[in-house]
C-alpha cells in the first residue's frame, strides 16, 4: 500500500534555482528508504517537501493521502500529525527534561494528561533512555540527545518518520546505535522511515532501498542498494 506518491514534482525557488526537477517516486507503508546525494543535490528539498516545509512548484506530492501541493499553510498541522521528523541538530528544548521534551509534543496537541504519561514512557523506553527521564539535554551525550528527538518523533505513533541526516553530528559507533533504534522502530511498529544521509558506511551496511538524487533529479532507485550503486550510476 502506497504511503507516499510523488509525481513529476518540481521545486523552483524564486531566484530561479531548480532544486527538484520532474521527480517521481512511490514509497510503500513500512519501507525503510535512504535518500542520498551530494550537498546541493536537492535531497533536503525533497525531504522538506514531504513534511511541507517546502511546497512543490509543480507536480504532485501525496503523503498519507494528503496532497502536499494543495495544502494551505493553516492546514499543514493535519499532515504533521501523521508524521515525525528528526534532525541532525536534535532541536530539543534545553530547559526541559527528557520526559518533558517528549511530552511537549503531546501537550501541544492537547492530549489528556492521563494519556501522555504512558505514551511518553513507552517512547522513551523504545529508544533506551528509561534511566534518564529526568535528565536535561545538557546532561546527555549527542547520541542520547538524538534518541530523545527520536522518542519525541514517534511518541504520537506516526505512520511516517522522516530523518534529515540524524547521524550527521555523531561518531560512527553512536550512529550505529541510532540506526539500530530506527530499524527496530521500522520493524516492530511498522513505521515507514525515510532517511537522508551522507554516511556511506551506514547505507552500505543496512542494505535498504536507496534513492539517489543528483542535480534535483532521481538518479537511481535501488532495492537493497548502497552508495556504490550511486557511484556506478554517476559513472555510467
Amino acid at each position: 500500500m502506497k504511503l507516499i506518491k510523488v509525481e513529476h514534482a518540481y521545486k523552483i525557488y524564486k531566484n530561479g534555482t531548480t532544486a527538484v526537477a520532474d521527480l517521481s517516486v512511490t514509497i510503500d507503508k513500512g519501507e525503510f528508504v535512504f535518500v542520498i546525494g551530494t550537498t546541493g543535490s536537492g535531497k533536503s528539498t525533497f525531504i522538506k517537501m514531504l513534511y511541507r516545509e517546502e511546497k512543490p512548484t509543480k507536480g504532485k506530492v501525496i503523503v498519507g493521502g494528503i496532497d502536499v501541493a494543495k495544502l494551505r499553510n493553516s492546514k499543514v498541522y493535519k499532515l504533521r500529525r501523521k508524521l515525525g521528523v528528526v534532525f541532525q541538530d536534535f532541536k530539543l528544548l534545553p530547559k526541559l527534561t527528557v520526559y518533558e521534551n517528549v511530552a511537549f509534543a503531546l501537550e501541544t496537541l492537547g492530549i489528556p494528561e492521563s494519556e501522555i504519561r504512558p505514551k511518553v514512557l513507552k517512547a522513551i523506553d523504545a529508544v533506551g533512555l528509561k534511566e534518564k527521564t529526568r535528565n536535561l539535554p545538557s546532561e546527555l551525550s549527542g547520541g542520547e540527545q538524538q534518541r530523545v528527538a527520536i522518542a519525541r518523533a514517534i511518541v504520537n505513533n506516526p505512520k511516517l518518520l522522516i530523518c534529515d541526516e540524524p547521524t550527521g553530528n555523531l561518531d560512527p559507533e553512536t550512529s550505529k546505535g541510532i540506526m539500530k533504534i530506527l530499524e527496530n522502530i521500522n520493524q516492530t511498529l511498522g513505521t515507514t522511515i525515510i532517511m537522508a544521509t551522507h554516511d556511506k558506511e551506514l547505507v552500505n551496511k543496512m542494505k535498504k532501498r536507496v534513492l539517489v538524487i543528483e542535480n534535483g533529479v532521481l538518479a537511481s532507485d535501488t532495492k537493497k542498494g548502497s552508495y556504490k550503486v550511486h557511484e556506478s550510476v554517476k559513472n555510467s
Binding site: N73, Y77, R80, R81, K91, L93, T108, G110, I111
Partner: protein, 297 residues
C-alpha cells in the same frame, strides 16, 4: 475538551513568558498604566465637563428687556413668536413690578433706593430658556431684531469661553491618550516580538509535531492580554479611590455650585470597566501586530 486543554496550556505559557521577560514586561505594564491613568483623567474630565455643560444648558436663560413703550399687543406678538422658535424651550414674562419686588428682597440698599424713586426704573422682561446652549447667541440675536426689545442678555462671552476651555481640554486629553495608546501598543508589540524570538525553537517544534496555527499563536495573544490586564490594575484602583476621595473632599462641587461633579457610584465602576477593556484591547492588539509581523508559520 481538547480545545480547553490547549486554551489552559496557552494561558499557562503566557504567564510563564510574562515572568521570563520580566524587565520588558514591566516596561509594557508601566506604559499601559501611565496611558490608562491618563485615559481615566480624560474620562473623568470629559464626563464632568459634559455634566457641567448640561447644567449650563438647563440653567442658562436669555433675559429679553422690553422698551418702556412696549404695548400689550407687542408683548403678545413676541410671546407668540417665541412659541414657534425651534431653540426656545420655554419662556416667562416678568414685569418690572416683579423685578422690583425681587430686587428689594435681595438687599436693604436696593430696597431703600427703589422706594426713594418715584417711578419704577426697571423694564418688563421675558426670561427665555433655550434647548441648545450652542445656539444661544443666535436665538438672542433673533430676539434683538424686534424694535421694542431694548436688549437680550445671557452673559455673552463668559459662557462661550467656559465651554471653549472645556472643549479644548477634552480634545487635548483625547489626543494625548490616542498617542499614548499607540506607544503602549508598540511597546507591547516589541515585548511579544522578543518572546517570539526567544521561543523560536519551541515554535519550530510545535509546528513540526502538528500544533495548529491558532494554538501556536494563542499564547502570544494571551501574553499581550495579560500585560494589558496587569497594566490596568493601578489605574482602576486610582480611579475608584481617587475620584471617590475627590468627590467627598469637595462635597461634589468645584469652585462654584455650577460645576458639580458626577456621583462616584456607579460612575467609577463604568470607568473601571472601560479601563480594563482598553488595557485588554491595547495588549491584544499589540501582540496581534507582533504575531502577524514576526511569527511566520
Amino acid at each position: 475538551m481538547r480545545a480547553l486543554r490547549i486554551l489552559s496550556r496557552s494561558i499557562r505559557d503566557s504567564f510563564k513568558s510574562v515572568f521570563r521577560n520580566l524587565p520588558l514586561s514591566m516596561a509594557s505594564i508601566l506604559c499601559t498604566t501611565i496611558t490608562l491613568v491618563l485615559v481615566a483623567v480624560a474620562i473623568f474630565l470629559s464626563y464632568n465637563v459634559r455634566e457641567v455643560t448640561n447644567t449650563l444648558e438647563r440653567e442658562l436663560t436669555i433675559v429679553v428687556y422690553l422698551d418702556k413703550e412696549t404695548t400689550e399687543e407687542q408683548k403678545t406678538e413676541i410671546q407668540n413668536d417665541l412659541k414657534t422658535m425651534d431653540n426656545v424651550d420655554n419662556f416667562q414674562l416678568k414685569t418690572k413690578e416683579e423685578w422690583k419686588a425681587e430686587m428689594k428682597q435681595e438687599s436693604e440698599t436696593l430696597e431703600t433706593t427703589l422706594d426713594y424713586l418715584e417711578e419704577n426704573p426697571l423694564l418688563d422682561s421675558i426670561i427665555v430658556t433655550v434647548k441648545n446652549v450652542d445656539d444661544l447667541s443666535e436665538t438672542a440675536d433673533k430676539l434683538r431684531e424686534y424694535d421694542f426689545v431694548s436688549s437680550a442678555e445671557y452673559g455673552e462671552g463668559m459662557v462661550e469661553n467656559i465651554i471653549g476651555i472645556f472643549d479644548a481640554v477634552s480634545l487635548g486629553t483625547v489626543a494625548m491618550v490616542i498617542a499614548l495608546v499607540c506607544v503602549t501598543a508598540f511597546l507591547i508589540s516589541n515585548t511579544i516580538k522578543l518572546t517570539i524570538f526567544s521561543r523560536k525553537t519551541e515554535i519550530e517544534i510545535m509546528r513540526l509535531v502538528g500544533a495548529s496555527n491558532t494554538s501556536i499563536k494563542l499564547p502570544f495573544i494571551f501574553e499581550g492580554f495579560i500585560l494589558g490586564v496587569f497594566g490596568s490594575i493601578i489605574p482602576i484602583a486610582a480611579s475608584v479611590y481617587g475620584y471617590t476621595i475627590l468627590y467627598n473632599q469637595t462635597g461634589g462641587y468645584v469652585f462654584t455650585k455650577i460645576i458639580t461633579l458626577v456621583k462616584p457610584f456607579p460612575f467609577v465602576l463604568y470607568v473601571s470597566i472601560i479601563l480594563l477593556a482598553i488595557g485588554c484591547v491595547v495588549g491584544m492588539f499589540g501582540s496581534w501586530r507582533a504575531v502577524r509581523k514576526y511569527l511566520k508559520i
